[in-house]
């Protein structure tokens, strides 16, 4: 059994507005990090979040996409589930250049499988034709 360095870190859970302050024990193997234990999480989702945040953090991206011939110029969109945190700016690049034709319906898929994540980008509101 090798003695890898272990640190105790404070982490704020961002799953819900409670923002529980958790204590996380992390084992370091070179650049790799592994969660050993989580304390003070208010619910099981917090513990899940801690594990994920250390090994492969993800985020929901919310932004806007241009609408062609719509009653308004933009439609708010979101990723239908979380995508890897390090892909946020790349995803923004793609969505900045995207456009969708009016009418748009809330929930409509604007872009499938963004950056190979298998996650869709969906509209968050209705936009009628001009």
């Amino acid at each position: 059994m090798t003695d890898l360095p272990v640190t105790q870190e404070q982490m704020t859970c961002i799953i819900c507005p409670m923002g529980c302050s958790m204590e996380v024990l992390i084992e370091h193997n070179g650049l790799d990090k592994k969660v050993l234990s989580v304390r003070d999480n208010g619910c099981p989702r917090g513990e899940q979040y801690a594990y994920k945040e250390v090994s492969h953090p993800t985020r929901t991206l919310t932004t806007t996409v241009a609408v062609r011939n719509g009653e308004v110029p933009l439609v708010p969109v979101k990723t239908s589930s979380e995508i890897p945190k390090h892909l946020l700016f790349n995803a923004m690049e793609i969505l900045r250049r995207a456009a969708v034709e009016a009418p748009v319906e809330c929930g409509q898929v604007i872009l499938k499988d963004i950056l190979g994540t298998a996650v869709s980008v969906v509209a968050c509101s209705d936009v009628g034709k001009k």
Partner: protein, 433 residues
Amino acid sequence: MKQDFCYDIIIIGGGPAGLAAACAAREQGVERIVIIERDLHLGGILQQCIHNGFGLHHFGEELTGPEYALRFITKVKELGIEYKTDTIVLDISVGEKNCFNERQKAVTVLSVKEGLQQLQTNALILAMGCRERTRGALVIPGTRPAGIFTAGAVQRFVNMEGYLPGKKIVILGSGDIGLIMARRLTLEGAEVKLICELMSFSAGLTRNIVQCVENFNIPLKFNHTITKIHGKDRVEGVTVSRVDAHRKIIEGSDEFVECDTLLLSVGLIPENELSVSCGIALDAATSGPVVNERMQTSIEGVFACGNAVHVHDLVDFVTEESIRSGKSAALYVQKNIQSAVLRIPVRSGNRVRYTIPQFVDSLDQPFKILFRTADEYRNVNICAYSNNKKIKAVKKKIVRPGEMLSFEITDADLIKIQHDITVAIELPEEDVD
């Protein structure tokens, strides 16, 4: 002026508060309801709040602002509730009591489509929302270049029209709007150079500090404020200074930060121009109307809900409060509200900045008291007193000005209430019981 239109309830404001109140009133059985909304579409401020975090309490799902609004807009349409958009209320007047002991309310509205109209109504629900505190009100010295915005105005430009206000941004205020915009502007390619917060803690959710500030390596300085704005035509920079524990500027701590945009996220103020103009009593601590547990203001038949009453952190609580308001307005119209009025004052005790409601008029049903603390405290007891006797205490690990608190007064608590209620925050060392 056309004066034909008579309603049971007129709701001023088609944002989350007005929409929820309208649905609740219709579900209670009231027929003639109309929502008056000054913007081109319903949804209020939620239209531009494209981030998520809405609906966890009310729907059990995490939604973006526009999705949350659409749920209610759809419901309003399904319920067949009338609404007028691109229409503004110019004036409200409350008449004398008629032979049915009712006070008719007249609402003057203006729109391009229908011109000037006077609408008559039995009940009124004020749901106008709030506005942002300005640079002028803060008296930040310096020049007056282009590039100074309130966070809400930038949010509208970026999220609804597709424009970036600048490239190098300094944000004053670490409330949720400032934090959310810090992330948004960064994602859109701007550089947020600094967030400056006067207090020693953030007024926003900790969750937002992490996902909007830390995750994007944006510098955030507590105990700092902006003491000068530079730039002739456009902002060229700001002077940032440190403050001491009493919020006084520390001499010699000035630092120049180059930027082309200053974003102000320094507070929201309930919008009550119309309330004042028809003589409704306001609470100086909230800048909103004084209300009772049914969300009725000092004028009978005039109700209020949402940010127009006090600024909320979560739209879910706006919805809850507005449902209560809509139901109460409906019961009033149906003459199902008891006329007995107890006027039991709800007082802000130690460390409590304000409470909603400010009065309780009936003790026949449990109710909730919403309130905020003046500062950050840990391991406290939230206590309710009546007639100087402690009637209830609830432990809480941490309380902050930025997170609104609620206190349930249950059936069991109701019988202990006599002439008044005081809500206070007790520190652990003060707990003598």
